[in-house]
């Protein structure tokens, strides 16, 4: 059978939406900067700590 193309945006989130690690309500709806920080810090900066 031929499977349909499904748009990600048409698929619902869970009711209890969960933001990325470190995100806060005051950061507004856009967690982009948090996303970048989590990735960069986890991969690059840990070695620089004591």
């Amino acid at each position: 059978m031929k499977f349909p193309e499904i748009e990600l945006g048409s698929l619902p989130d869970l009711d209890a939406a969960t933001g990325l690690f470190g995100s806060f309500s005051s950061a507004g709806p856009d967690d982009t900067i948090v996303a970048i920080m989590v990735y960069v810090y986890d991969h690059m900066l840990v070695e620089m700590l004591l």
């Binding site: 698929l11 209890a16 969960t18 990325l20 806060f24 005051s26 840990v46 004591l50």
Partner: protein, 323 residues
């Protein structure tokens, strides 16, 4: 774009850049070997790996009184200040955050544990303190300098989007220690008397619940964030694979729907359905038909919705078990 002349000059001077970078690496290496700090870092590693705090004498010693913490931390801060005086543009790449009223510098992180300096000042916007944050972690903090009125918070009852929070106020000053653990306890700084500098040790739970933020006045849930940075990293990786249309990642995404938090499993399912609807629908059906799966109701509803929108999916049957 304005570029400061000093920074502009540095851009073309690779020798100066290297000298600064080496100065920072040298200072950090010296700090790691410091007689007061080295045993603390060893203990932090053990604590971050799951040891009891009581079994980490150098670490517990730090929190015994403000003087002990100052004796270990002051030489470290002195060295960092020294390197910045010598090289004002040098970057000491410690995790940090700074916003009006609050500044935080993470000194060390090992496994699940982290040690840092937190400074509250009286520049905070009053409205910002109306929201309390509850991370799922163990928290030990000692006041190094200054004083503040704080509220010790405990969630007495919690429904999906609402909590009953008990609040007890007290004033803390140099040498006072705060310790609490678990996702139901937290503390909030209500009023700072000039400044409040603390040394903070935290350890995230092995399988942390999401961090929740509640409006203190109403008890309303205003935000939930994953308590697990590794899980958030996985979520970002999944999103990236999805945006890159990496259809070959669909089996990995389908596998990720089998374990982890409900949130991560659901995101893996969404990405999998959008990348490869055949693989995604198989995963969706498996979840929807497993009555022991917490996501079964949501998966069942989504399956019904997809079948309605794409009637050919009604003819789908699970592949026979290879065994």
């Amino acid at each position: 774009m304005h570029i400061d002349p000093q920074i502009g000059a540095l851009r073309g001077d690779t020798a100066a850049q290297r000298a600064m970078s080496e100065a920072v690496v040298q200072i950090v290496a010296e700090c790691r070997k410091d007689a007061g700090l080295a045993p603390v870092l060893r203990d932090l590693e053990a604590y971050g790996s799951g040891a009891r705090l009581d079994d980490c004498p150098a670490l517990t010693g730090l929190f015994a009184d403000g003087g002990a913490a100052m004796r270990v931390i002051a030489p470290l801060v002195g060295r960092l200040v020294e390197v910045h005086r010598a090289c004002p543009l040098a970057q000491v790449a410690f995790r940090h955050q700074s916003r009006p009223g609050f500044h935080f510098l993470q000194l060390a992180a090992k496994g699940r544990a982290a040690l840092g300096l937190a400074l509250h000042d009286d520049q905070a916007v009053q409205d910002a303190s109306a929201v309390a944050t509850f991370p799922d972690s163990e928290w030990d903090e000692i006041v190094l300098a200054g004083a503040a009125d704080i509220a010790l918070l405990e969630i007495r009852g919690e429904r999906r989007d609402h909590a009953v929070i008990d609040s007890r106020c007290r004033t803390i000053g140099a040498g006072d220690r705060l310790s609490f653990a678990g996702a139901a306890k937290s503390r909030m700084v209500r009023r700072v008397h000039g400044r409040l500098l603390t040394l903070r040790l935290t350890r995230i739970a092995p399988r942390p619940r999401p961090t929740r933020q509640y409006d203190l006045a109403t008890g309303r849930l205003v935000h939930r964030a994953s308590g697990d940075r590794h899980e958030s990293r996985d979520e970002m990786m999944m999103a990236l694979l999805g945006r890159m249309r990496r259809k070959d990642a669909a089996p990995v995404l389908a596998a990720l729907t089998r374990s982890g938090s409900d949130h991560l499993r659901w995101q893996a399912l969404r990405e999998c359905l959008a990348l490869d609807s055949a693989a995604g629908f198989a995963a969706l059906d498996r979840i929807a038909t497993d009555p022991t799966d917490d996501l079964a109701p949501e998966a069942g509803a989504l399956r019904a919705r997809l079948v309605e929108a794409h009637p050919q999916l009604a003819r789908w049957e699970p592949a026979p078990c290879p065994a």
